[in-house]
């Protein structure tokens, strides 16, 4: 997935870029509306994350202006917490909004929800051996069988899929699966891995336990 992040706060932008890159997304960063226009002219994006207060204007005005010719879904990042501001963003054509400061897991979840609502895109499908995994739709297909995965299973499978053959530690998996404040132990990872194993049974995929180190998925 290719994202465009329009955010003038360099540190926040860097942190978001970091996190989205972890999920395997390519992210371009624009620090102003002018830079965003340049990016949009040069490339096509799957999703735009748009800050409201930018040095050369209001993100919502930009949104209202470009909505006519812009089909890319937009999530507004706003520090404006007023109810009317939030509703206003949706009225001006945003697909969703998220209030700063936000949880990366929530940002990720909202991006996923918006992309799924907009119909996802075929190029995001991941081939895992003989199986096809569509993280947007949350489906895993093998031949004629298709299973629908639940949110955490999708995310877990996504992490494994982006690191084929690599050993992933329990704490690495935990950070991707759970919000920072969830009171979970590493046992929870064992539960979810166990669940995912049952789901991918017969799909030609295997999750191995590497004692003392973590897990590894092989096709």
């Amino acid at each position: 997935m290719r994202y465009l992040l329009v955010e003038d706060n360099a540190e926040l932008a860097e942190a978001i870029l970091n996190r989205l890159a972890l999920d395997g997304h390519a992210v371009d960063h624009a620090a102003s509306l002018a830079a965003a226009e340049d990016c949009l002219a040069a490339a096509s994006y799957d999703l735009i994350l748009l800050d409201v207060m930018l040095p050369d204007g209001d993100g919502r005005d930009f949104l209202a202006r470009s909505r006519a010719h812009l089909e890319t879904p937009v999530i507004v990042l706003t520090a404006r917490a007023r109810i009317s501001d939030r509703v206003g963003a949706l009225d001006q054509g945003a697909d969703d909004y998220i209030t700063k400061p936000f949880d990366f897991s929530e940002l990720e979840a909202r991006c996923r929800a918006v992309l799924r609502r907009r119909g996802g895109s075929a190029r995001n499908e991941i081939t895992l051996g003989a199986a096809t995994f569509d993280p947007m739709a949350g489906t895993l297909s093998h031949g004629k069988t298709t299973v629908e995965l639940r949110n955490r299973e999708i995310r877990l499978l996504e992490v494994f899929a982006r690191h084929p053959g690599q050993i992933l530690s329990k704490s690495q998996l935990m950070e991707r699966l759970f919000s920072y404040d969830a009171e979970v132990t590493e046992n929870a990872i064992e539960v979810y891995v166990g669940r995912l194993r049952r789901r991918i049974d017969g799909m030609g995929l295997r999750i191995e336990t590497v004692r003392g180190l973590g897990y590894r998925m092989e096709s």
């Binding site: 926040l12 970091n18 996190r19 009317s84 509703v87 949110n151 404040d181 929870a188």
Partner: protein, 458 residues
Amino acid sequence: MTGSASIERRLTVLLAGVAALLSILSWGMVTGLARQAAERTQDNVLAASATAIAETLRSEQGEVRLELPYSAFSMLGAISEDRVFYRVATGEALLTGYADLPVPAISPPAQGRVVFDTGDYRGAQVRMASVMRQVLAGGAPVSVTVTVAQTRNGIRAIAGELSQLAAMLSVAFFVVAVTLSAVAARTSLRPLNEIAQAVSRRGPNDLRPLRRAAPAELAPLMTALNRLMERLGQSLRRSEDFIVEAAHRVRTPLATVRAQAEIALRSVEDETEKQRLRRMIRAVDESSRSAGQLLDHATVAYRAEDLARDLIDLADLAAQTADALAPTAAMKDIEIRLETVPATVRGDAVLLENALRNVLDNAIKYSAEDTTVTLRVRRPTDTEARIEVIDQGPGLGTGPVEQLTERFRRGQNTQGIVGSGLGLTIAEDVIRAHGGRLELGQGPDGRGACVTLVFLLA
């Protein structure tokens, strides 16, 4: 509208004072006039009587003679029961009558004219009329003075009766005038009272200008009042803008802190360090969430005063809210189950969405991973519609359930969960503003919590 400085009372007292003054003046005038009229009548009759006697004077064989006509005394008896005295004399020689009746000094040029005088005679005040006539007696003119006198008691009594009547009329006039002044004061102050009521009936945030017909005298007050409300509204809006701006300025750096801390959390290996970072993130969440809900609370209070009355289908509202919170629920693999029937209410869509979002957000927050939150819209009776939010969380605890909707009050089993304690307060304020109520209870099978927004259908 009572009190020592009440305009109404002052106006009434002033008008009553004027009425009292007028009553006393009119009484005095009537009394004076009555007395004057009585005295003038007496004078006229006395003059007529004296003249009538003087008419009978004639000379007979050099002697002055007269007759006392009956009519001269009967006319005096006609006006009162007073005693009558008379005296006819030439110079010092008494012809007839009471010799000691005082005689006014009448000089010859006054001949034919009646002269009046007042004096004391036999222990009473008397009014006297004298007339002088010259009679030729024995070839020489002789001056004859005729004096008729009458006591004044009867006249006084008549004047007194008239004065009493006038006093009664004055008192009656005074009573009527005071009543009318009270009515007039009240009536003329009614527009003022109406304006006062119109202002005091308003909610604390209703700053629309007053639009009502007022007497010209009150127009400056109305204008001043409207200007004041306009300025108040402006300063309210300014402070709201200021709060929003301040919240924005605080939240942007908080977002950076939180993002950086989350990145650090991934790269740090040490569990104590991780714990510290988690606490830091939690503090950021806590403060930004509180700020947000305080703003929401203020907005709710502001909008509730002047509620929009849109037609809203609760089923649509539930579906939209579920949709908006689905990603949040997905983070914990929580399923939001919708069980709705159409139910249309009138209300403020923005506020109701906010209220339901707060309740649903609470339910998700306090639910365990991998559970279900049910969002149900029911119409159990023709007069009631309910939105029930049922979770499978720890329930609302053992503390008093009513206290949970108090500001900043959080339940007894909220340890470890970020919250400001305003969510249910906001929801309750909104539903109350819509004439409904918020019910807190247990889930249907005794597990979890059930928060219900109850709407009364018209």
